[in-house]
């Protein structure tokens, strides 16, 4: 069992949780994730490791379906049945010169840990964090503290620059010599934003989020096409060279269970007895 040490809401549908998981905290690095399972009947879901403190790790998640909704109801003192990690390869952090770390929506969760390691490696770190509006903006203070420069964008202009991260990035590419760019957010945002760096030939990483089961390279559920080759995001990634990624394929596979996901959420809100095959107890 893994103790929930702190659970708070950060914004509409966005929650933060500190979990006691020493074996994950001990080796966690930027870019890695964990897989958790709330209880015996739960699904294994991957979440990025957003910060580490002592024996604990922080995750930040958005409620979009059954498991994340259930997770959002947990409080300090509750426990998760399983937490495994750190999974995936750490971000390729070294001294690039000037780097840009971009987070969109809940993808901002992954940015502080990358920005911090990039800073420690001697880079000049520029952060760009974006949200639909100012109430949905995450981790502004934390990113301000880590980054040498921080840009904020909102789709509706309620805070910072009115527009998208890609607008700011475009400007930076014109004005400065950039060594490396990280983009983390919804697949469509990563696709569009990484398109901006392509003509400049700037190394760009995106963190892919396909549907996973084991997270150890055993099932192939997380397969994505990168540079024409099949890769398993859980062990070969989750970060890949953005300019090689087949985003269309990723987005298609992410939608594989939309019908089942609706049913699961419905069942969570209105449980209707058992399925018959497990004695009706679930």
């Amino acid at each position: 069992m893994y103790l929930v040490e702190e659970a708070t809401q950060l914004a509409d549908k966005v929650f933060q949780m500190w979990i006691h998981a020493p074996q994950v905290a001990r080796h966690a690095r930027a870019g890695q994730f964990l897989i958790l399972r709330i209880d015996e009947t739960g699904e294994r879901i991957p979440i990025t490791i957003s910060a580490v403190k002592g024996d604990s790790v922080r995750v930040i998640f958005m409620t979009i379906g059954k498991t994340t909704e259930h997770l959002s109801t947990l409080k300090k003192g509750d426990a998760l049945r399983d937490v495994v990690g750190p999974l995936g390869k750490p971000s390729e952090i070294r001294k690039y010169g000037t780097v840009v770390v971009i987070g969109g929506g809940v993808g901002v969760a992954s940015t502080p840990i990358i920005a911090r390691e990039a800073k420690e490696a001697g880079n000049h770190v520029i952060g760009i964090i974006g949200a639909r509006n100012k109430d949905l903006l995450l981790l502004e203070d934390e990113m301000k503290e880590i980054c040498d420069e921080l840009f904020i964008t909102t789709d509706d202009g309620s805070k910072g620059i009115h527009g998208f991260a890609s607008t700011v990035l475009e400007q930076l590419l014109k004005e400065r010599e950039l060594g490396c760019v990280w983009i983390i957010g919804p697949a469509i945002m990563m696709k569009v934003t990484s398109g901006v760096t392509k003509p400049y030939g700037v190394k760009t990483f995106v963190s892919l989020n396909p549907i996973m089961v084991d997270g150890t390279g055993m099932c192939g559920s997380c397969r994505v096409t990168v540079g024409g080759e099949t890769k398993f995001a859980c062990v070969d990634g989750p970060e890949f060279d953005a300019h090689q990624v087949d985003f269309g394929g990723l987005m298609q596979r992410q939608r594989m269970y939309v019908d089942e996901e609706k049913e699961a959420l419905e069942h969570f809100h209105h449980p209707h007895g058992g399925c018959g095959c497990c004695g009706g107890e679930h």
Binding site: Q23, V24, R26, H27, Q32, R37, T41, G42, E43, R44, K66, T67, R81, D82, V83, V84, G85, P86, L87, V213, D214, G215, T216, G217, M218, C219, G220, S221, R223, T225, T230, V235, G249, Q252, R253, R255, M256, Y257, E260, E261, E263, A264, E266, H267, G274, C275, C277, C278, H282
Partner: protein, 445 residues
């Protein structure tokens, strides 16, 4: 055995096992040979005549004691060993009439013990040596049990949330009930073995931490699913057998939404492959309600799966299309069909089987909404690739000597990671040898 077709909607065990009376009668058939050939056929060398004789004398506790001298997981092996090519295949009676049903008897005594209270074998005095075992499949569990009985302090690291490896995530409940796997694992734990679940070695435990143990046993298995590399393979509805089986066996997707993990049940499922894994995937798909077609590239008589599995699959209504091979998965976003080509058998290959080759222009389409590839697995590369001093052969198998010693001092490997995908009992047999070698090494210090 009961009629299999009546079970096709549930995941309960198909083979119900022997009654006490039938077990005794079967045991009485054994001739108690002086030079028993059956023992030579058993990879862990169980003293078969001795245990069978005890069954005949109704000393079931004594019988299980004999079995456990050499095999800590008898309820599992009694169910899934390919006995027809091992102990039973070597039984002297196999040549005349029917061999003694050694597997069924082994299962019977193990089940009898579970119902009548389990006796934990003795454990030697502590040696103060610490051994790390990576992976809790049959290889890891066997090595752990052996080493614990020898008095070493054993920690097993398992990346999944349940111990057992393929026994839990791969082999379906209707062949190997999961309570039985867990009960046998409890017996391993009773020897003092600590099992740390949710620990992926190489990530949760660094290689330095691993190599700091007095000895290391790698039992990480052959969990890497191969894909055919054909067009349309990433459409929604295409699974590796590993994923399909894991979703159902480990995550209970058959009970969705009571359990949260979904699986595409499919109305028409096509399975590619002809081994035990393919049979399991096909039989699971049948139980989820689909019409199932299995496509195999060689002839029916070449099917590598156990004969009994093929028979069961057929009895449960799986259609077999032999001498055919998928060349493309059809569909827009989700699978709508599988295009196959007919195969003809040419000259024999190195293994003595005819080589299949495509018949030009013989393409045909099988309608399908789910396609499952069960064409084989390779050793899981994650950890072994992080140990650069570990020598592996071309297909990724870790190279070991006859004691299971790898090219790194103090590091041993056995089971599927060393042999490539094989069987439960071979994994156990090789793990036992490695455990003995580890013990010799530790005592020599």
């Amino acid at each position: 055995m009961t009629d299999v077709s009546e079970h096709v909607t549930d995941f309960n065990e198909v083979n119900k096992g022997l009654s006490e009376e039938n077990a005794v009668l079967e045991a009485l058939r054994c001739m108690n040979c002086v030079r028993p050939s059956c023992v030579k056929g058993c990879p862990v060398c169980i003293d078969i005549p001795a245990f069978v004789e005890k069954v005949a004398n109704r000393d079931f506790a004594g019988a299980v004691g004999v079995v456990k001298e050499n095999n800590m997981l008898p309820a599992i092996c009694g169910r899934v060993c390919p006995q027809e090519t091992q102990c039973e295949g070597s039984c002297i009676l196999a040549r005349k009439e029917k061999p003694v049903s050694i597997g069924a008897l082994e299962r019977f005594v193990a089940d009898w013990e579970r119902e009548h209270g389990v006796k934990t074998p003795e454990v030697a005095a502590p040696t103060g040596k610490k051994v790390a075992v990576v992976g809790s499949g049959p290889a890891g569990l066997t090595a752990a049990a052996e080493l614990a009985r020898m008095g070493h302090s054993v920690t097993v690291f398992e990346s999944l949330h349940a111990a057992g490896g393929v026994l839990m995530y791969g082999i379906p409940n209707f062949r190997l009930p999961k309570e039985i796997v867990q009960a046998e694992i409890e017996q391993v734990k009773a020897l003092g073995v600590e099992i740390k679940l949710n620990h992926l070695v190489g990530r949760s435990v660094s290689t330095e931490e691993l190599l700091a143990y007095d000895a290391v046993f790698l039992g990480t298995g052959a969990g890497l699913p191969y894909f055919m590399g054909i067009e349309g393979e990433n459409l929604c509805g295409v699974y590796s057998a590993n994923e399909f089986l894991t979703r159902v066996n480990l995550m209970h997707a058959n009970c969705f939404p009571g359990f949260d993990t979904p699986v595409k049940r499919g109305a028409k499922v096509v399975v590619a492959g002809g081994g035990n894994v393919a049979m399991d995937a096909a039989r699971v798909a049948r139980r989820l309600g689909a019409e199932v077609t299995l496509v195999y590239r060689r002839r029916e008589e070449d099917l590598p799966a156990r004969a009994v599995e093929v028979t069961n699959a057929q009895a449960e209504g799986v259609n077999f299309v032999c001498c055919a091979n998928p060349v493309q998965v059809l569909g827009e976003k989700t699978v709508s069909g599988v295009e196959c080509v007919r195969m003809e058998m040419c000259e024999l290959d190195a293994s003595g089987r005819p080589k299949p080759s495509c018949i030009e222009g013989s393409n045909f389409v099988l309608e399908a909404d789910v396609f499952i590839e069960a064409i084989g697995q390779g050793p899981n590369p994650l950890l072994v690739s992080m140990l650069p001093a570990l020598t592996r052969e071309r297909r990724g198998n870790v190279i070991v000597d006859e004691d299971g010693q790898t090219t790194i001092a103090r590091v041993y490997a056995a089971g599927d990671v060393a042999t490539g995908a094989a069987t439960v009992i071979w994994a156990m047999g090789s793990a036992k040898k490695a455990a003995a070698a580890i013990d010799r090494m530790l005592r020599a210090e």
